[in-house]
């Protein structure tokens, strides 16, 4: 049963019961969420969770099997061109025409974005992403980071109000990742753009997103602000000892047994309050087990372990 | 020009063979010869049409030059011409020599509406390409209406003449040269043609007689021609 939601003025994107099936495989399953004006909306999930499929559906690259997408209060498929006019996007790798120069690429896509690309506009954009001095060079000669910046320039050339970035930091070096992060923050803060950004890296999203949606296997797991979602009191630590087998045995026969998570990659994983870490250390020392490593982990995988504890999804990440 | 040579041969031997078995026949041939003798040279313009079932060719302009005793040249006015090898006889202007053949009276026949005398000429020697030559002569006007020439190598050719304005010189307005196309090999196409012509069509193409037709328009007679033209 489809429920039509009345979109408030501040709601930029409204997705209702979105489903996409590729033959027998369900990539996105009954997904609903909304993005408010001015949000930096983090779209978080493992590779293959359905993030890209969802973003592609929001850009009309993929036709949904079921569900409804409204952007700016209008049905996306009924007002496709008007809506796309207001969207700038970089989807996965920033692929452009390699045999054309940065300037030519930007000019071509500006024209397709519905604006008349003057030299001033093009050069301003290239200036913004730091490629002005490489304007005449063919893209073939560009590094991954430069291509990514050109992709962003293309996404922004027509001054859209909604920006969608699908895995924008893929393949970038730390400096490139930081640049993208700063750019997103700048777009949101200074230029009042609404940004939807997807990633499989928790810390990346955590640093910039005002709201976060976590999906897994096409399902929505949880949605909220970073503060709401990340309970810092609980953490997973990674333990490595002189005798891991013995350590697991001792832990399993102690009060720690409920904290013990299945081992992965030869490491023992324990979920606990951060204050309990020294106590755990003391316990192991008392058992005459040498501690080689005792380190809090902060990854999406662990976060999933936390929020899905006891739920069926846990199998995906612990197998 | 090979065609020309063969053609010369046909007429050369046609009359060389006459040795007076029948005085009447002799006289007739001599009369025809004398008539043709008034022409020292001529140039003529004409149209040549090739009518061979498996050759589609447009009508082409030709220019013909003749000079006594046996100089002859056929010149195309541009274009490509296809003639059967070994014998299109286009000129009847060089019937001069009258030795080495045996002439036989073979009766009468009508060519169109014209009554003609048939004379067969047999070469005396064995070393000629021509085996037999038959002439149909219009006795009243001393004109050769038709000739059939059998050759050793190149089959049998038939030539018919129609006269008009230049009959007094013994020069035809039209010459039809016929030959049996059955013996000619059909061209084997090396082109990429998907459609195969069926056997019936092939037979039809083969069975037909081939014909070359020259229609002369203007003759210029005895105006003098430089020898250089025939080189």
């Amino acid at each position: 049963m489809q429920i039509v939601i009345i979109v408030t003025m501040s709601s930029i994107v409204q997705v209702n019961h979105l489903t996409k099936q590729f033959n027998q495989f369900t990539a996105v399953n009954d997904l609903s969420f909304s993005v408010e004006k001015g949000d930096v909306y983090g779209f978080l999930g493992q590779n293959g969770a359905g993030k890209s499929t969802t973003i592609r559906m929001m850009l009309t690259l993929i036709t949904p099997t079921q569900g409804q997408i409204e952007i700016f209060g209008y049905d996306l498929y009924k007002h496709r061109r008007d809506i796309l006019q207001q969207i700038g996007a970089v989807i996965e790798k920033p692929d452009v025409y390699k045999y054309l120069s940065a300037y030519e690429n930007l000019q071509l896509f500006a024209r397709l974005s519905g604006i008349k690309p003057t030299r001033q506009i093009i050069m301003d954009q290239l200036e913004m992403v730091g490629l002005a001095d490489r304007a005449k060079d063919t893209v073939k000669t560009f590094s991954q980071g430069m291509k990514q910046r050109l992709g962003i320039a293309i996404a922004l050339v027509h001054n859209p109000s909604l920006i969608m970035l699908d895995e924008p930091t893929n393949g970038l070096d730390p400096q490139g990742i930081a640049d993208i992060r700063n750019l997103i923050l700048q777009l949101s803060r200074d230029r009042k753009k609404t940004v939807i950004v997807s990633s499989h890296l928790l810390n990346e999203i955590e640093q910039i997103a005002t709201r976060i949606l976590i999906i897994d296997k096409g399902h929505k797991l949880v949605e909220g602000t970073a503060a709401e979602l990340f309970d810092t009191s609980q953490t997973i630590v990674q333990l490595n000892t002189t005798d891991n087998q013995m350590a697991v045995e001792k832990l399993a026969n102690s009060s720690w047994k409920n904290n013990l998570k299945p081992m992965r990659d030869g490491h023992i994983l324990i979920q606990l309050d951060q204050e309990a870490i020294p106590i755990l250390n003391q316990f192991l020392v008392d058992q005459h087990i040498g501690v080689l490593l005792l380190q809090p982990r902060h990854s999406l995988e662990d976060y999933f372990l936390q929020i899905t504890a006891g739920k069926q999804h846990v199998g995906t990440f612990t197998n | 020009m090979k065609i020309f040579k063969t053609f010369i041969q046909i007429f050369f031997f046609t009359f060389i063979g006459y040795n007076g078995i029948a005085q009447e026949v002799n006289t007739l041939v001599m009369k025809v010869k004398n008539k043709l003798d008034q022409v020292n040279d001529y140039t003529a313009e004409g149209k040549m049409k090739t009518d061979i079932a498996f050759i589609k060719a447009p009508v082409g302009g030709v220019k013909v030059f003749y000079k006594k005793p046996n100089k002859f040249k056929l010149q195309r006015n541009g274009g490509i011409s296809v003639l059967p090898k070994g014998g299109v006889s286009i000129n009847i202007g060089n019937m001069i020599v009258t030795t080495g053949f045996t002439a036989i009276d073979a009766g009468f026949a009508d060519i169109g509406k014209v009554k003609t005398r048939i004379i067969k000429l047999l070469p005396n020697g064995d070393n000629n390409d021509i085996i037999l030559s038959t002439l149909y002569i219009d006795e009243a006007n001393l004109l050769i209406m038709k000739s059939i020439t059998s050759t050793r190598e190149n089959g049998t050719y038939e030539m018919e003449m129609r006269y008009g304005k230049f009959a007094e010189y013994g020069l035809p307005d039209k010459v039809f040269f016929s030959f049996n196309a059955k013996d000619y090999k059909l061209p084997k196409g090396i082109t990429l043609e998907f459609e195969d012509v069926d056997q019936a069509t092939k037979d039809k193409l083969k069975g037909k007689k081939g014909r070359v037709e020259i229609t002369y328009s203007a003759y210029e007679i005895n105006k003098g021609i430089a020898d250089s033209i025939f080189k």
């Binding site: 452009v96 045999y99 | 490509i80 059967p84 990429l192």
Partner: protein
């Protein structure tokens, strides 16, 4: 639409691959022309070996018109590869490069984009043919001069009067354009299904090779499908070089022996073009872009 077409043409003519095709044609034609210029007499003697036993052919057979016929005969079998190189790359190449998804997130109608792509490959095909005409016909006319056109068909010889040839070439090139656009639309259609350009290029050539073999083989079971294969009709341009004769076996200048065959082949090719291009456009409108 005009904007899209201009953009697509801009992209085609900025690709080095495009010029490869023009260079290949230039080289092929130059090889044929130089070969015939140097050894043309032997070539004509070889072609007419059987015929020359019985007939004396007089005149300038090796003229520009004849050279162009030889070029078309040899080249039109190979040009499809050069067309496939671009047409089969139109969608798949962009999918492979990753630009297709960027292109389709722009506020443009998909139908307009894909139609412009098809039209651009058609224009490229026509430009290739114009290039063949410039080099194969006009340059040959300039270098070798003109005269009657002498053609050996599979069972007869045709000599086309010089003044009657040129319009036949105009017709033949128009028909060849139709045949090559069919190749372009096949390549374009196949490019829809792949995310790399090698696949559709190879597939296009394979389809053409298989169909050409079926068209050439004279086996009853294949004869049933022959009339429906576009390859059977691709060589109908040759029909322009055969004329009617009257009862006296006189050539009728300006006539065509089998105009019906040309019309029929044109219809078959047009149906193929509409089928291939139409399906590609219709399918593309609903295509999920996963590249």
């Amino acid at each position: 639409m005009w904007v899209h077409l201009r953009i697509e043409l801009y992209k085609i003519f900025r690709k080095p691959r495009t010029y490869l095709a023009f260079a290949a044609i230039t080289a092929l034609i130059a090889v044929i022309q130089i070969g015939l210029y140097v050894d043309g007499k032997e070539y004509t003697e070889f072609v007419m070996a059987d015929f020359a036993n019985s007939f004396a052919v007089d005149g300038k057979i090796l003229n520009g018109y004849f050279i162009c016929y030889v070029i078309l005969q040899l080249l039109l079998i190979h040009v499809p590869l050069l067309i496939a190189l671009i047409a089969a790359d139109m969608i798949s190449g962009e999918a492979n490069m990753g630009t297709l998804r960027l292109l389709l997130t722009k506020p443009q109608s998909r139908t307009a984009i894909v139609t412009a792509k098809f039209l651009a490959s058609v224009i490229y095909t026509l430009m290739l043919l114009i290039w063949i005409a410039i080099l194969g016909l006009f340059l040959s006319m300039l270098v070798f001069g003109t005269d009657d056109l002498f053609i050996m068909k599979s069972s007869y010889v045709v000599i086309v009067k010089e003044s009657d040839v040129f319009w036949r070439y105009a017709g033949a090139f128009c028909f060849a354009a139709l045949a090559m656009v069919t190749v372009a639309s096949l390549g374009f259609f196949l490019s829809f299904f792949a995310e790399n350009s090698i696949g559709p290029i190879v597939a296009t050539m394979s389809v053409i090779i298989v169909c050409t073999i079926l068209s050439t083989m004279n086996i009853p079971i294949f004869n049933i499908i022959k009339p429906y294969l576009f390859t059977t009709h691709m060589i109908t341009w040759k029909e322009f070089f055969d004329f009617k004769v009257n009862d006296a076996n006189e050539a009728i200048v300006g006539s065509i022996q089998n105009p019906g065959r040309i019309i029929q082949s044109s219809i078959v090719l047009l149906v193929h073009i509409i089928g291939f291009a139409g399906s590609a456009i219709l399918l593309f409108r609903k295509k999920d872009i996963l590249s």
